[in-house]
Assembly symmetry: C2
Homo-oligomer: 256 residues x 2
């Protein structure tokens, strides 16, 4: 069987420990090219760069592994990776390992998952991996077998059309991980508490802070799985239609 | 009945013709506060500003209308609007009128709809309005009765929990508009053709260009409605779970 070509990206930047780990794992499974942001891009969601031109820089090339950085967003990285670096569609796109959870509503803000959704739109099987630990020195020592199993299964069996995976790994001692669960996205929100400060000229500025608030404690969600030390695997798509709300909306009077 | 308080934002910037039009319409229906980006923010999707502090500037205040600009994204604007400017939840958030379509897959990249989804997460009824005309001098003369009817209905009847509306208006002679249709999101994608150039130092740079490709010609989509001169109204939510794909994914071998 021909070796698959795997494109690796993230939103923490091309030199983050999480992407180095993911790249090493993917090299065991296929030919690997990395195209990742030059700078950290957490929280950029599905942003694309439309008002400025983009730059690509080859950072290293050895033993068949090419690492490129891009001054854009994670979505820009997968677009440029496919169109300019590879000049073809890769067999798989993986993004991460993100330093921090992308479970529940976090997916909406996530650059890691923005890249994954973008390659899904482009028709490429795609998976995002995140660990629920924001620290730069998060412990990635126990993730290997889980990540490799998911990737092997997706390479062998594919994913349904227009569907990708959002995988989140609990930050616990590896031995405590109970396995993997296919889940749906929990409902949650960030409750903002802006940190208001004054600059030396006595003008206000605001730092975004906030507290995660879970609004959904039903079993079967990604948050439920993670809190029980399971790895959560959520199939995700980019059809945002609220099909369940269709009837309600059809009852609005829209005749003018 | 108490007058509703309406927060207005967009992604084209606080002085774009589209937001001036939307603000004027909302003043006929309630008390209005505008918090919108200082600079154009097209394509920023659901991006939030986490690595830099944010600034707010009051641009004008007259006849009860306050207009604020923010150096952040549309999502930052609704967060700051609720938390700092109003210090309460508004009764409604409207975003737009966007210069350019946010139908089909465009919603994923849209700053206009990022703001709408963010206020939905925060529990506020929210509507995004876009016109399928990218020009700065797009013709907004015929939109009044449609926008006011939708807003009146939402103020009176509310929206289902965790659901907002994505409204797109075809760019045709106003007399040709046939009415409004409740639709689902069409499947589509942008096929990229990067414009590759060399700078004076002979280094490559890339401009994002692209062609919209409709992948879904079934009746009942927003693209179908727009192409028949209907205004499309799509109920939208932020649960990205691909529920239809759950069984397929549960058949992957995730035991390790």
């Amino acid at each position: 069987m021909k070796k698959p070509h795997i494109l690796v990206t993230n939103d923490d930047g091309y030199h983050a420990p999480g992407i180095l780990k993911l790249t090493a794992l993917m090299q065991e499974l296929g030919d690997v090219t990395v195209v990742a942001p030059e700078e950290p891009m957490s929280g950029v969601g599905h942003a694309i760069t439309v008002r400025n031109p983009l730059r690509l820089q080859k950072r290293s090339q050895q033993n068949g592994l090419e690492i490129w950085s891009c001054k854009g967003t994670p979505v820009d990285c997968v677009k440029l990776g496919e169109q300019i670096v590879l000049r073809k569609k890769p067999d798989l796109v993986v993004s991460g390992i993100n330093h921090g959870s992308n479970a529940a509503v976090n997916i909406v803000y996530s650059g890691t998952m923005g890249a994954v959704l973008e390659s899904t739109i482009s028709g490429i099987p795609s998976i995002g991996f995140s660990i629920c630990d924001y620290r730069h020195d998060a412990d990635f020592s126990y993730v290997d077998k889980y990540i490799k199993q998911i990737v092997r299964e997706v390479l062998e069996k594919g994913l349904p059309e227009q569907t990708c995976l959002n995988v989140n790994i609990p930050a616990v001692n590896g031995e405590d991980i109970k396995g993997m669960k296919v889940c749906h996205q929990a409902n949650a929100r960030w409750v903002e508490e802006y940190d208001e400060r004054k600059d030396p000229a006595n003008k206000n500025y605001y730092w975004l802070t906030g507290k995660f608030e879970l609004l959904d404690d039903r079993p079967g969600t990604d948050e439920w799985a993670l809190r029980q030390n399971y790895i959560s695997v959520v199939p995700v798509h980019y059809d945002l239609t609220a099909h369940h709300a269709m009837e309600h909306i059809k009852n609005l009077d829209l005749d003018v």
